[in-house]
Symmetry: C2
Subunit: 286 residues, 2 copies
Amino acid sequence: MKVSYQGATGAFSEMAARVMYANSEPVACPTMQSVFRHVTTGRAARGVIPIENSLFGSVHINYDLLLKHRVRITGELMLRVRHCLLAAPGTSLADVTRVLSHPQALGQCEDFLRRTLPHAQTVPSYDTAGAAKLVASASVPGAAAIAARHAAAEYGLAVLAENIESHDQNFTRFLALARPTAANLQQIGDRPFKTSLAFDLKRNVPGALFKSLAVFALRDLDLHKIESRPLVGSPGHYLFYLDVAGRVTTPLLQRALDHLQEITGKLRVLGSYPVGAVWDRYPATK
Amino acid sequence: MKVSYQGATGAFSEMAARVMYANSEPVACPTMQSVFRHVTTGRAARGVIPIENSLFGSVHINYDLLLKHRVRITGELMLRVRHCLLAAPGTSLADVTRVLSHPQALGQCEDFLRRTLPHAQTVPSYDTAGAAKLVASASVPGAAAIAARHAAAEYGLAVLAENIESHDQNFTRFLALARPTAANLQQIGDRPFKTSLAFDLKRNVPGALFKSLAVFALRDLDLHKIESRPLVGSPGHYLFYLDVAGRVTTPLLQRALDHLQEITGKLRVLGSYPVGAVWDRYPATK
């Protein structure tokens, strides 16, 4: 089964695809748009996209793509982001004079760098896997990359230090996407479900959001996520993203959605899927 | 007056600093942490940080820094993000063979690139201003950068095309920070205020969030922003970010906050400041 993701081989998205779909064939895409196209055209059975990070927030642009494409969320995964310092085999920590990585990764490893490599120069690069690739191919003496452990295996690099990030709550939530079928709304086993919704409130009426949450609170339906997104240039016009406990095909949630429809403008069910695992182990690659 | 921001000269953050504080001296910082340090130590009178983008969501890591430092939000600005194609003077559109920029900017200009430069190679780089700097310094024939208009003046480049982004709702919201004083909670003129709050809910009790919003709905206080942030690894433990209309020193909002304190765990007022302007014009630089 082909599973498309955005990024270079060795990216965290590739790992999410491998964890969610064992024995699948991950397919690297240059853009998020192409991941969605792979799913809608059937070129891939699934797409895997990052939707929020515990440090960097929701990826609104992926919510936009969800609303634009005929796809359905069929699963989720919370993947722990762990960083390593990678360099060409034979390099020791004392040899490292410059460290390449994505600026966010450099920031997350600031304490380690200050303590262990106070004189190394930091060089921002496009992504963590790309930095590892560059270190592997450029053979610049003293160059190291901050990237995921599995990027070391991918590019033939040695791991000089592990778990070097300061923040111990760094997770990225990934969603799996498929073409909509009746089958991908059905309960599998007895795992609890959640349902992802997007809706807008046409006017900035005080209490409109409160009323739309009442729809769930009055039915004792628990909310996993709530986020307002202002549409700048349309004052008082908001999009809301809501994840609610339950399966969309149950009568209770169906009644809640009927009720919500009375209050809101556009309402879209993005998917109804088993609550995802928190993944803090790293699988062996290749 | 010194105003610190993160990024290279010509970055959108520098422009936000110039728009918010005319005649100020913008000071470039390598990291967000150093912007906060400049403010707390008094090295800069103000700091300007991005807090959310209409396409890429909230910058949670800046919320973390807000909670960690003794600073107060004193203002905000919604800055329109507009992209241009920049190249060395004398270059024409037909000469362009590769386009450098931040991947998000490349994505936002995908339609323009497909239509106008279908054969150009896209090269991801760290940031838009950095791409402009590289194009200016490297003198690679056929290289162009996607960046802000004012980066052209900064690095001596020509503007080949303007407003080339597909998405017409691309805004970044910036916050101004200062050391807390009694003065920076006071009403200036008659501009409406908003107040930014962060609080946590200790248990995932159904309806707890609903009750905390009732605090405002029952008093007809309008909400500008609401966002839940799960603390992965602490199931059922959430942080909430809320922007509510009004000034924190008014009795009505004070009573609402007393009421909220009964329901929530930790509650922090991040600042109370005039509702910011939406800035869609670009000032002349230098």
